[in-house]
Amino acid sequence: MSTLEIRGLKVSVETEQGAVEILKGVDLTIKSGETHAIMGPNGSGKSTLAYSIAGHPKYTITSGTVTLDGADVLEMTVDERAKAGLFLAMQYPVEVPGVSVSNFLRTAATALRGEAPKLREWVGEVRAAMESLKMDPSFAQRNVNEGFSGGEKKRHEIMQLELLKPKFAILDETDSGLDVDALRIVSEGVVRAKDASQCGVLLITHYTRILRYIKPDFVHVFANGRIVEEGGPELADKLEANGYAEYVTA
């Protein structure tokens, strides 16, 4: 059983007008096997929370703590966070020209497992992950995210989630831009990964439709840089009916 604990997290970014505070004190605790949905309007700071936990250099932590089983995540480099068990499925995965998916995945697995996976087993693992996400085998030879459609990028992110087996997966708007079929395939991948490894899931989304496939244990409403309401799955139904209007009025 692992615990990811966020306490009083305040984060700012540099802009031309100086530092702007985006996160204004976030408290959140996620345990293995739990699924937490963070829902909120655009610009509320949901993605900033995801990237701050992963260690993107653009964000400055001004106060607060993030710990994983007591270890100080904020002191770790980006790759150390991944090795500690954090995974971020990105909303806009980055193109890496000239680096094949196959090479990238094997390099990542080698880094995270501490040794190169045995070739035969690895090929089988990758093939199974690709088949279950309904990806063409030729995908492995393409360059990372280069020329991928929106749906392909998201499948690729979730394939990594299945292969890299983190303790905690943060999914940043994985549902955005997906049609119904792709949403179902990607969601099934998340559920499969969670069932297999009992990882904790932090699901960041604007819409409730992904929650039909990935059932949250907890729902947190995010507005103006902090969590403003928390509840169970029923809170999502309320958001579905009423939208975010009551949270964004100043």
Binding site: A54, G55, H56, P57, T77, V78, D79, R81, A82, K83, F87, L88, M90, P93, V94, E95, V96, P97, G98, V99, N103, F104, T107, A108, A111, L112, N143, V144, Q160, L164
Partner: protein, 363 residues
């Protein structure tokens, strides 16, 4: 006089003020340009392994097939009328690459070397020039690609740190012939290469690619000139370079001339540079001169940038450490061209050398 025509130097010792010499540190040329070098005819170029059927190689008299105003090439031609000649017989289709290896004999004298590669009518071949060790080398390499022939020339500059190498690769490409050149420059103190293509008949095409990686103190110059003087010829130029370390300096010049007669020309040239540290300098000058509007296309692009933080973040967020992430990005950057070599052993060797250069450069 136009910029391109001003590249045509009068046959004198360059002063550094000429367009063709303005980037080159003349003092570091070992006197090969001004007559102060001690020239030697070393015949250092030899066939490595067995020569396949359809190819012959000899040291013999050479009658120049190209005109030039390059000061160094003219000094070579004044010094010797002999050189190495590789001939691919007409209609020969040679599947195995032909390896020509240059043994270096140190830097006490300068090797003044003439080379002629002749690809006969409708022949198909791949020639690999391997350059290693430390030497001073002035090289006049002429290439004749006869009608319908397909020649791939892979020129590898894997020199040691003391080498001074000035070379002109001048290809004459005839009707429906294809010349493909892949240049790799990853070693040497100073390397100045002039890949030059003359299309002499319609339907000819060339594909000039290159990669270079300069570290502290190294100067690598790649200066192309593609002369479209006949209709319906096609040229592609794609060079990629990385620089790391203090006073690493690269120069890429892409001169493409589309003369009035060259209707139906299709040309595109691209140079991309990756600056991996402060104190390095990449000059990149695409130069397109067009005398006719009746063309298929003509374009160029040049970019110089640093590591993309988003790429590094993405890779590191998957557990890959900073050094490995940088290595992946640099390998990926060069892969587009290195993978074109098509000889696995050489591709792996070049990538390993690139890894070494990157490691040497540190952070």
């Amino acid at each position: 006089m136009t910029t391109l025509q001003s590249n045509i130097l009068e046959n004198h010792t360059p002063t550094g003020r000429e367009e063709a010499w303005r980037f080159t540190p003349l003092k570091r040329l070992g006197g090969m340009h001004d007559g102060t070098a001690t020239p030697a005819e070393r015949n250092s170029l030899a066939v490595k392994g067995a020569l396949p059927t359809g190819a012959t190689f000899a040291h013999q008299e050479i009658i120049a097939v190209t005109q030039t105003d390059d000061a160094i090439v003219n000094r070579i031609r004044e010094f010797t009328t002999k050189g190495a000649v590789l001939t691919i017989a007409a209609n020969a289709e040679i599947s195995e690459p032909i390896f020509l290896n240059r043994t270096s004999f140190g830097t006490d004298t300068a090797e003044f070397s003439r080379v002629l590669i002749k690809a006969g009518n409708h022949s198909k071949s791949v020639v690999v020039l391997e350059n290693t060790g430390d030497t001073h080398l002035a090289e006049d390499l002429e290439i004749v690609v006869e009608p319908g022939a397909h020649l791939t020339l892979i020129a590898l500059q894997e020199w040691g740190s003391k080498t001074i190498h000035a070379a002109r690769h001048h290809a004459i490409v005839d009707r429906d012939a294809t010349f493909k050149s892949i240049v790799v420059t990853v070693g040497g103190d100073l390397v100045r290469l002039l890949p030059t293509v003359d299309f002499i008949s319609p339907g000819a095409s060339c594909d000039l690619s290159g990669v270079y990686f300069a570290t502290a103190g190294q100067f690598f110059e790649h200066r192309m000139f593609v002369d479209h003087k006949v209709p319906n010829a096609k040229s592609r130029v794609n060079y990629k370079g990385a620089l790391a370390g203090d006073k690493a300096h690269t120069v890429w010049i892409g001169d493409v001339f589309i003369r009035a007669a060259a209707e139906g020309t299709d040309t595109y040239e691209l140079n991309r540079n990756l600056l991996l540290s402060d104190g390095a300098r990449a000059d990149s000058v695409p130069n397109l001169e067009i005398e006719t509007g009746e063309i298929v296309g003509a374009g160029h692009a040049s970019t110089t940038g640093r590591f993309d933080d988003e790429q590094l973040f993405y890779l590191m967020s998957r557990g890959i450490n900073m050094d490995d992430a940088r290595r992946l990005v640099v390998r990926g950057f060069f892969n587009e061209i290195v993978s074109e070599i098509g000889i696995a052993e050489i591709q792996e060797r070049i990538m390993a050398r690139i890894d070494d250069e990157l490691a040497k450069a540190g952070k």
